[in-house]
């Protein structure tokens, strides 16, 4: 059964840099995108969130989209991608990589590991705002995937 929700979209953001996370919030606000943004600091925390581990994440809501940085302590974006794509319960959640890197290898590796998209964060805030609008236009307008298979 597909559960219809009137709640805003839930986005899980794994990003170790608070300033970067703040930029994303600004970009979302700037684009008037209403989302419930859940912020964790690395891949391991993201997995804890998804598995509702610990008191902090006991009531965590399954996200519609995961945004993940590549370079993070403890568990980086690649390791997180590999882990989530290996988990039948989670592998359907689209993961979009948000990274500063424009290196071909990072882009290729991310798609190879099952990323649904790759955004190289631009230097200009205005360009970043446009990128985030495009992201939401595409991913958040898609029919929501079923919560459980």
């Amino acid at each position: 059964m597909i559960k219809k929700r009137s709640l805003p979209f839930v986005i899980l953001l794994a990003e170790d840099e608070p300033a970067d996370a703040h930029l994303l919030r600004l970009a979302l606000t700037e684009n008037r995108i209403r989302v419930d943004l859940q912020h964790v600091l690395d891949g391991r925390e993201a997995l804890e969130y998804l598995h509702r581990q610990g008191r902090r994440f006991a009531l965590a809501v399954r996200p519609d989209l995961i945004l993940v940085d590549l370079n993070m302590p403890r568990m980086n974006g690649r390791e997180f991608l590999a882990a989530i794509k290996d988990d039948p319960a989670l592998c359907d959640i689209p993961v979009v990589v948000l990274s500063t890197s424009e290196v071909d290898r990072d882009v290729r590796d991310s798609y190879r590991l099952g990323a649904a998209g790759y955004i190289a964060k631009p230097l200009d805030i205005s360009e970043f705002i446009v990128e985030i609008r495009q992201l939401s236009d595409y991913w958040l307008s898609l029919v929501r995937l079923p919560e459980n298979r």
Binding site: E17, A19, D20, L23, L26, L70, N71, S99, T100, S101, E102, V103, D106, K121, P122, L123, D124, I125, S126, F128
Partner: protein, 560 residues
């Protein structure tokens, strides 16, 4: 005595076919008759008249004393037989002559038959053994038949001894030749040992039946063993690094099962140290396919492996450095730029024009720094990404470059001509595309205000080199500045007029050098236009030392 002569002929006939003539055919056997009694000589001559032995007659010499006999022996070294009277000027004169012949003249093959009237002077057995006497005749029993038989057998014995002597001489010569060959072999073996130690390549043989491995001195050195050590398959395996043993066994078994060549690189333990060796061996098999023996070499590749390891490490370090540039350095820079922009936007109402310009300078600086980081990253990665060499139609790549540059060319309203002979070349296609793009883009970019840019792209092939030039009628280059052109972040024109990352030409130089070629610039001076030339070998060696194959058919065309 016709029957005796017949008999002699018969004997001669019997042996002629089997034996080898040592003296020229027909030359008589020389026989020396020694007796102080002149009367004896005619008797002997009569008995030996007309005698032929092995198809050869006799030539008789007479001596009436030991002294005469010595003279005759000196004059005729090829005397085959001496019939010798024992008692002449003294009782022992005959025996003394025998000793002289055997000891002083050292003639072993001359046969000596004693003739004596007094048997008591020379007891037969003792004389024969002590003086190497070949026969013994008593004067009292002298008859033509006895003389003939004694002479006949003595000549035969002489002949056999001569044959043996000649065989021995042959043998001696062969032994000497063998010694000489052995000497050469020994020398080449010592050269081999020296060569093995210089090349760090040892050799070994392995007999499967006996499970015995023989190692050359260098192989012993590589394995840290005493020279001359022999081994077995197990003792070899015991020296292989424990982690490499399964792979070695697998490779060995595969060779034994079906192969003829054993080839494997693995580590060995020499005490506590680890060495890398490359094993290579040929396996020979019996007719039924059973493996018999291996002839192999062991190459010490420890140094090469260490160099490879070092290269891998430094490559990994560079990769880490690249990553630091592309991510770790740019990330905080992006924060600076983004939050400056946000501040600029939120403060927009309160800022005066000068303050707004300060914000703009700060953001531009961050943006430029970001561009430089990206350019530096690109520069450092070039050549390490390992784009493979491939045959490239160079004319097609120009069109591709022009397609990419279409917007810039249109903006500059540049006229572009492409001329010359464009060869097929063995290059890294993406790098050559990048090279052409950079040079043409520069030609379009560094134009003079008010002058319609004309860009001439020319290719030609000369002496195995592909020469490419991009010429323009733009701003030109001051002669003193030519040397700085190809360095990273060097710019000859102000940023205000000409935007750019600062690594374009440095990249071009790296690409040219990566292909074993070079790049240079020519210009008559400021405002005189400039020409950039690239020369790449169509065949030959690349900068990494690998040899490039010459493509047979097209290369001929390329030389026209």
């Amino acid at each position: 005595m016709p029957e005796i002569i017949d008999d002699a002929n018969l004997l001669a006939g019997l042996s002629a076919a089997a034996s080898v003539d040592l003296a020229p055919a027909g030359e008589p056997w020389k026989v020396l008759l020694v007796d102080d009694e002149p009367d004896v000589h005619p008797v002997l001559r009569l008995a030996l008249d007309d005698v032929r032995i092995d198809g050869r007659g006799l030539r008789l010499f007479d001596a009436l004393s030991a002294e005469e006999a010595k003279l005759a022996l000196t004059a005729h070294p090829d005397i085959a037989l001496i019939l010798l009277d024992v008692v002449m000027e003294s009782d022992r004169a005959g025996l003394d002559l025998v000793r002289y012949i055997r000891d002083e003249l050292a003639r072993r093959t001359v046969q000596i038959v004693l003739i004596t009237g007094q048997a008591g002077y020379a007891p037969q057995r003792q004389v024969v053994s002590d003086y190497q006497i070949d026969g013994y005749l008593l004067k009292s029993e002298l008859s033509a038949e006895r003389i003939f038989v004694a002479v006949h057998s003595a000549i035969r014995a002489h002949r056999l001894m001569r044959e043996q002597e000649s065989l021995q001489a042959d043998l001696h010569q062969k032994v000497q030749e063998l010694d000489a060959t052995l000497g050469v072999l020994r020398e080449s073996e010592s050269n081999l040992i020296r060569a093995q130690s210089v090349a760090h390549v040892g050799s070994w043989t392995y007999e499967l039946g006996r499970d015995e491995m023989r190692l050359s001195a260098e192989t012993c050195r590589i394995f840290g063993l005493c020279a001359g050590t022999r081994g077995s398959y197990e003792s070899y395996l015991a020296r292989v690094h424990p982690d490499d043993r399964p792979a070695v066994e697998e490779a060995w078994q595969a060779t034994m099962a079906a192969g003829t060549v054993f080839q494997h690189e693995h580590r060995i333990m020499v005490g506590e140290t680890v060495r890398h060796v490359r094993q290579q061996a040929d396996l020979s098999r019996a007719a039924d396919g059973t493996p018999l023996r291996c002839l192999g070499t062991t190459q010490d590749i420890t140094e090469r492996k260490q160099a490879e390891e070092e290269l891998r490490r430094s490559n990994a370090e560079l990769e880490q450095f690249s990553y630091a540039i592309s991510h770790d350095l740019r990330q905080p820079l992006r924060m600076v730029a983004s939050y400056m922009q946000l501040l600029g936007i939120s403060l927009a109402e309160q800022l005066d024009d000068e303050q707004r310009e300060h914000f703009k300078f700060a953001i531009d600086g961050a943006r430029r720094l970001d561009q430089m980081l990206v350019a530096l990253l690109e520069y450092s990665r070039l050549g390490r990404l390992g784009e493979p060499l491939a045959w490239l139609e160079t004319r097609a790549i120009v069109d591709e470059a022009l397609l990419f540059l279409q917007p810039a060319i249109a903006e500059a309203q540049a006229k572009i001509s492409v001329r010359g002979h464009w060869p097929r070349a063995w290059v890294r296609p993406d790098e050559i595309l990048r090279l052409l793009q950079n040079l043409i883009a520069n030609a379009a970019k560094f134009r003079l205000a008010g002058r319609c840019p004309e860009i001439r792209v020319v290719s030609r092939v000369a002496r195995g080199q592909w020469c490419l030039s991009v010429a323009d009628n733009g701003v030109g280059i001051h002669p003193g500045q030519l040397g700085r052109l190809f360095q990273v972040f060097q710019r000859l024109q102000s940023r205000a007029n000409y935007e750019g990352s600062g690594v374009g030409l440095a990249l071009c130089r790296k690409i040219a050098e990566h292909h074993g070629g070079r790049i240079w610039a020519e210009s008559a001076g400021d405002g005189q236009g400039s020409r950039f030339c690239v020369s790449l070998p169509l065949t030959g060696f690349l900068s990494d030392g690998r040899r490039v194959a010459r493509e047979p058919v097209r290369a001929v065309e390329g030389c026209r």
